[in-house]
Symmetry: C2
Subunit: 308 residues, 2 copies
């Protein structure tokens, strides 16, 4: 199975309003809820691709119960660790006139040292059956900032390949533990390296410890810098829609490609096609199957002239 | 005891953000939750004034569990009727830079005919022990639009005085059943009667069936038109703060004054002082006790020159 870790799992709530009027009262016309947090989105896409997928991390309170009930409706196996605080909500307010989304993200529950210890035990146990692990997203309060470094080392000790998808200090610390693959987006990569030139920044990120770096560049696709070479894969045309969750689908594409031992260009093709198909879907963790299948034969992969 | 009815009870969530950026991602710095819906706010203020208070209406789902758990921390007795759908959330996003609030209100659960019947039985039973009843707020989907007319007639049959605080068609229908007191705000009164002149509109609302009308006019206080005369009560100075829940506190002031058989000017004084003290408090259903006590001797009540 593939393991995904979501330390700050969320109940993702989407509100549709005819037109968002700030500083006023808005009646919501449609409410939808989904299990959220990057790792859970990745898990749902992996499961939809046919991979046995187990999700761990923390969930608690009424919002934790709600997100677990929604997760139970998917093919993802729930191995979330109970926490005393309530899981965070994220609220996406979609303005139906402009199509714009206003996002409101709660910080998440404070995790106690005892809860953290329980999680580490669960994680180590789950690694025993894992073919790969994805460490995804932001940290809830109370979790040590070097958490992804610790989880990466534990996975490497167990011989399980690690994909790291986070930002800021947790990314910086995590890289030093030498994950197999880091998947920052352009902003995260620039914040890490100080460079807004993707190839230069990706190479810098590799030097910081990642065996390979796959940077998601929005409509420009994905740039991978690996020990075997560098490639850029891009969709054949501009995809209109909602980019929320596109990066998580890219992670699912990369990780499934790693487990299936696909060549790098094929992993990138899958990741870009899944990303684009997610832009065409209503919510993170979902993708438009027709778009995905159509793009699989149309994504353009170019060998990057500069060697890694 | 005093009975309050909240057919569309809510889990009121307040988010504080340093500055709300629409169409962007906002990290919430502080989350708070309270039991909400007008009737529950009224109930909390009544209980704080020392009245035994019972709250009924509907609650369901995870949000219903959450709001009932919060209600259990107050002195209000919970007689909410379970419903299959989930109680609505209301989200208030407070911009800490401007002080403005952006409100997002879910519609609420659809109530089935069987649930509605169960509620009617509970309501009639509770009326047996009630000294007054407040019928407050909007209706969830599935509840008949003439609900407040029905509930008013049932209360009058049981000899229990009724205060009605709603808007639109439910208000129009409810008035025809002759409640003892209606408490519209200026906008609701104008929408009902077509007149933006409060005295004229309040007299019109009386002709539509209410024995008395107390219109809340924001910073201008409250205008009451009754069988015994007409009065306007106003705070002695402009009160700065958050007006959310001020009208609900006015209802609690008016209803407690009715039960205690206070003269009209004293009821209005209490209602205005409570309203103003709520503007100074952080949330609906709460009030600043010092402001309340100070204003009790300072609210200005004037006999209205025009007879009712």
């Amino acid at each position: 199975m593939i393991l995904t870790v979501t330390l700050n799992a969320a109940l993702d709530i989407t509100y549709r309003v005819p037109r968002l009027r700030p500083h006023s009262t808005n009646r919501i016309t449609e409410v939808s809820e989904r299990p959220g947090g990057k790792g859970l989105n990745v898990a749902r896409v992996l499961a939809a691709l046919g991979h046995r997928t187990v999700a761990t991390g923390f969930a608690g309170g009424g919002t934790g119960d709600a997100l677990r009930a929604l997760l139970a409706e998917t093919d993802v196996t729930d191995a979330l660790v109970p926490v005393g605080g309530a899981s965070r909500r994220t609220v996406a307010v979609v303005d139906e006139t402009t199509g714009d989304t206003t996002q409101l993200n709660e910080p998440g529950p404070t995790v106690s040292p005892a809860e953290w210890d329980t999680f580490l035990g669960t994680y180590r146990e789950l690694l025993g059956g894992a073919r790969a692990v994805a460490l995804c997203g932001s940290l809830p309060p109370g979790v040590p900032v070097d958490v992804y470094a610790r989880l990466t080392r534990a996975a490497r000790t167990a011989g399980v390949p690690v994909l790291l998808d986070t930002s800021g200090e947790p990314l910086r610390r995590g890289l030093a533990a030498r994950p197999d693959l880091a998947k920052p987006n352009a902003d995260e990569l620039a914040a890490l390296t100080g460079s807004t030139e993707p190839l230069r920044a990706a190479r810098d990120a590799r030097r910081r410890g990642a065996h390979a770096v796959a940077a998601s560049l929005g409509p420009d696709g994905i740039l991978a810098v690996t020990a075997d070479g560098a490639w850029q894969a891009a969709p054949p045309w501009r995809i209109a829609g909602n980019p929320t969750g596109a990066g998580d689908s890219a992670v699912a594409g990369l990780l499934s490609g790693l487990v299936e031992e696909l060549p790098w260009p094929d992993r990138l093709t899958r990741a870009v096609a899944l990303s684009a198909a997610t832009v065409r879907a209503p919510a993170a963790g979902e993708f438009d199957v027709a778009t995905y299948e159509e793009l699989l034969s149309r994504v353009v992969v170019t060998d990057h002239p500069a060697a890694a």
